[in-house]
């Protein structure tokens, strides 16, 4: 009997303790998604938030290994308990390339994270003569000419390798 009372008390206490959490997360854990997951500094990204309570205000912060950059705020919209947001914003042009974690958090302590890899701004990343800002399938224009001696050396090495190979294959 005593055990039963104790068990009932523990279950009741647990339910009471978890009740506020249940209320707060009635809409589930907030989720954010960043698209594209790899973006260049100065490029634009779209952040989509779901599983949020309409009216909640989220601070959007990009957290890097060394720095944190505020990207502004987004307010969840929707009806009932299902809300979310979609914001498109431009990343700072001077953002250092690397791995970042985008955090959306409310003053009440709710937060969601998504990862973002930032590459150098296209115009800065190009060290060669062909400066481009748009994606291109063209080959990088480089001076790949080699001294005649080097070409002759490689050709001689290739020929020697072929002769040695054939000799080893044919050897009884």
């Amino acid at each position: 009997m005593r055990h039963r009372t104790l068990l009932t008390s523990v279950v009741a206490a647990s339910v009471l303790a978890l009740y506020p959490v249940g209320v707060a997360l009635a809409h589930g854990e907030p989720i954010i998604r960043v698209d594209p997951a790899i973006a260049s500094a100065g490029g634009s990204i779209t952040i989509t938030g779901t599983e949020m309570e309409p009216g909640e205000v989220f601070d959007l912060v990009l957290e890097g290994a060394a720095t944190s950059v505020s990207l502004g705020r987004a307010t969840a919209e929707g009806e009932g308990e299902e809300g979310g947001f979609v914001v498109t914003l431009t990343l700072p042009g001077d953002l250092a390339p690397g791995s970042y974690r985008l955090r959306a958090s409310t003053e009440e302590g709710e937060s969601a994270v998504a990862d973002l890899t930032v590459t150098a701004a296209a115009i800065e990343a190009d060290p060669g003569p062909a400066m481009v800002q748009e994606a291109s399938r063209e080959p990088h224009v480089l001076d790949r000419s080699k001294p005649a001696g080097q070409v002759a050396g490689v050709a001689a090495l290739a020929a020697a390798s072929a002769v040695l190979g054939v000799w080893l294959i044919r050897r009884r």
């Binding site: 690397g98 791995s99 998504a114 990862d115 990343a125 291109s136 080959p139 290739a158």
Partner: protein, 365 residues
């Protein structure tokens, strides 16, 4: 006519050479390599696995050189490759040999697998080695994929983006392949680690297991009309040392081919990658996935290869008869041929069609 003095000198040289060879044989235990293998094991079809290994030796050596100058960070990767090509002594040549050897090795490893499949060399007692071989194939393709990303030109960056999309599809299993695995180390850097440490280590472990089981079971019997699969260890009129000699010979021919290709067509390098765009096509070994991606989206990138791997894994389970002759395994080979044809056709379609069509179909899906 030769003088008696010259005869003595030649005899002394031959004797000295023989004595050096004897010393090396004794000290290095080389006689242990002279165990019997069948004569047919010295034909090129049975040497494809060994030729692949020779290619990996070239990749290992050239890779060490390239790693001294490559900077595996998104901000510096492409710049470091440009510097490698334009300023590092023989950097462009070594990179091109690495590139061409990777292409050749992919061909030889695929041919090796197809030969084993066609000749029924996966049958008892070699089933486990078939699975290890599949692991080696997957590792090789993993090395090729990570290698294609590292140059971080437009094609490399798009491959990285596809990698991230595929990682997202497979959820927790794709954790390591996603950017969120590590906050402080970029995905590109981790793929470089995979390319130079994790995958080569895995390859080495699988290779030693593969070679050990080949030694234990012997070379698979020739698939004549009534031949059955069995262990052939210790049988044959040739010697393994002779087998290794021919293998080394093909290795040198492979090096010569890679060097000639290097002189004719240096390894390609595109312009720096711009994120969020898709204007290039992947390398030929992944190109066949393009139409599948159009049909089923990013999910196709991990799922289609996984299904293909599963089908290959089922081969020794489905085909359990001991007969090796292809004529006794017509149904299985017909299905395998159909799948292979579908892959080749898919690759041809993707190669012919412009990238714009791929994008339109992918977006419309």
């Amino acid at each position: 006519m030769t003088s008696p003095g010259a005869d003595v000198s030649t005899e002394s040289l031959t004797s000295k050479r023989n004595s050096i060879a004897a010393v090396l044989r004794e000290r290095l235990g080389l006689d242990g390599l002279a165990y019997p293998v069948p004569e047919y094991a010295n034909s090129i079809g049975y040497l494809l696995g060994g030729i692949t290994l020779a290619g990996f030796v070239i990749l290992f050596v050239t890779g060490i050189y390239l790693a001294q100058f490559y900077h595996p960070h998104p901000a510096d990767a492409h710049t470091s490759v440009v510097a490698l090509v334009t300023t590092v002594p023989v950097g462009d040549l070594v990179r091109s040999v690495h590139f061409w050897t990777a292409q050749i090795v992919t061909v030889t490893v695929l041919l090796h697998m197809l030969r084993v499949l066609y000749r029924g060399a996966y049958k008892r007692p070699r089933e486990v080695n078939w699975y290890i071989g599949l692991g080696l194939l997957a590792t090789t393709l993993g090395l090729v994929f990570t290698g294609s990303v590292l140059k971080f030109d437009q094609e490399g960056l798009e491959a990285l983006q596809h990698n991230s999309e595929a990682a997202e599809v497979i959820g927790a299993l794709g954790g390591w392949f996603s950017a969120e695995f590590s906050r402080t180390v970029p995905l590109l850097t981790r793929l470089f680690n995979g390319h130079v440490t994790i995958l080569p280590m895995l390859f080495a472990l699988l290779f030693f297991a593969h070679a050990f089981l080949v030694k234990q079971h012997g070379i698979s019997p020739k698939p004549t009309a009534d031949s059955i699969s069995r262990s052939t260890a210790g049988e044959g009129s040739s010697r393994f040392s002779r087998h290794v000699g021919r293998l080394a010979g093909y290795g040198f021919v492979l090096l010569a081919l890679a060097l000639f290709l290097t002189l004719l067509w240096p390894a390609p390098l595109g312009k720096p990658g711009v994120a969020g765009a898709e204007v290039t096509k992947p390398w030929w070994m992944f190109l066949w996935l393009f139409p599948a991606e159009e049909m089923w989206g990013s999910a196709a990138l991990p799922v289609v290869p996984a299904v293909l791997g599963l089908l290959l894994a089922l081969v020794p389970i489905v085909d359990r008869s001991p007969y090796m002759s292809p004529t006794r395994r017509k149904a299985l080979l017909l299905i395998a041929g159909f799948v292979l044809l579908a892959i080749v056709l898919s690759g041809v379609v993707a190669a012919i069609r412009p990238v714009e069509a791929h994008l339109v179909r992918s977006i419309a899906r």
